[in-house]
Symmetry: C2
Subunit: 224 residues, 2 copies
Amino acid sequence: MGLATEDVERLDEIVKRTRPLHRGDYLFRESDPFRSLYVVKTGSVKTFAPSSEGGEQVLGFHLPGELIGLDAIDRDRHACSAKVLETSAICELPFSRLEELTAMTPSLQHQMYRLLSKEIAQDTDMLLLLGKKNAEERLATFLLSLSQRLRKRGLSPSDFHLSMSRHEIGNYLGLAVETISRLFTRFQEDGLMCVDRKHIQLLNLAALESLVGSCSQNRRQQQT
Amino acid sequence: MGLATEDVERLDEIVKRTRPLHRGDYLFRESDPFRSLYVVKTGSVKTFAPSSEGGEQVLGFHLPGELIGLDAIDRDRHACSAKVLETSAICELPFSRLEELTAMTPSLQHQMYRLLSKEIAQDTDMLLLLGKKNAEERLATFLLSLSQRLRKRGLSPSDFHLSMSRHEIGNYLGLAVETISRLFTRFQEDGLMCVDRKHIQLLNLAALESLVGSCSQNRRQQQT
DNA sequence: CGAAGGTTTGAGTCTTCTCAAGAGCGGTGG
DNA sequence: CCACCGCTCTTGAGAAGACTCAAACCTTCG
């Protein structure tokens, strides 16, 4: 991440390590007062916001190394809920202490700005996905995103376990469960991947990449 | 915004005021090196990112008082383009100077975090819109958003001019132009608003609000 | 072992898109 | 000042991708 050793040490001092959390546990709930950011050490977490009528929108799945809670700074209150998907180790970063630290350390302040900015850029990618991509492109994008993020952490980019349900994937991608299920079946028939329940093997990353973005010209060019 | 007078004065010192820009001018283009944030003083700006195949995704319309460019901090390079929709006055905030200033001024640093966080929270709202809402709900949400933002700046919340085309609205909301056009017609028939070309009058804000979120139960509850 | 919930598959429907054509405005130039 | 041109907007008709509803299957877990 481009942090100097001494910065890391300082950060280390304010980190609280929590005992392992289990499937279904909440890190925080929507409208809880905001106190800390959270970093996933191992396991995975989903964040979601209530939509009207009691439904919910899954906002993201968070893998080891990823930061959660940045959207709460503005209102001093969490705008979404965070639920643990499998047994996970999570670190807590009390925000007030982090803020003091970054105020004293320009390099950390810059890092913090970058983290916030990266989150915005990622959301932007999701907007593009939801606004312009069809079901096939959405799922391919999702699978490749997982793959790349796992690779970044030194884990296998082509053989992994889905800690979330088809329902949650569909919700996240703006698709119905049935659509996800059918696409998994189709991708498997096409030799792109091997699906066994929650165990995923990506057999052809190149082909998946070619699906992302411009597979079919079935959507009108929405220029302006 | 909760800034002390002295903070404002300091900010004021680093702001560059640019001459008026005109319809079609770019504030910056995607992949330009990142140097400054921009604040709209008067007029309006749209930001958009290239999608695959040469299309584009409109990311937002920016009205007076709103900040542009936060997504570029992470990569030191703009992730989207910003184009002026009508004659506009824009202020430029050199980011390196802003960063120095916030490092010296905890209250400003906090404000900066809040601005970044707010941007994330707004994107989250858009994800919900694109992921869960139908065409009617999307347009109603869009109109009410404009209305509220104009009100915040002391402008009429129910009588305003659209500086963007139907095409751009559709692109932003993930809908085809024709759908936007049909909805404007229908909203007008239903007495919700009066549309004359780009001149909009909202006649029934309460009814629009009831459309947002839970008008019809025609979408399955995507729970997880 | 049985209930509960997640997944898959099929059939039919529907919202929204696509394609097409005409109308309305606005700008340009003779 | 008016005809012409280009572009945006509107409206209609048909197509289609994804959704909804339904049912069966399979896992998991108490």
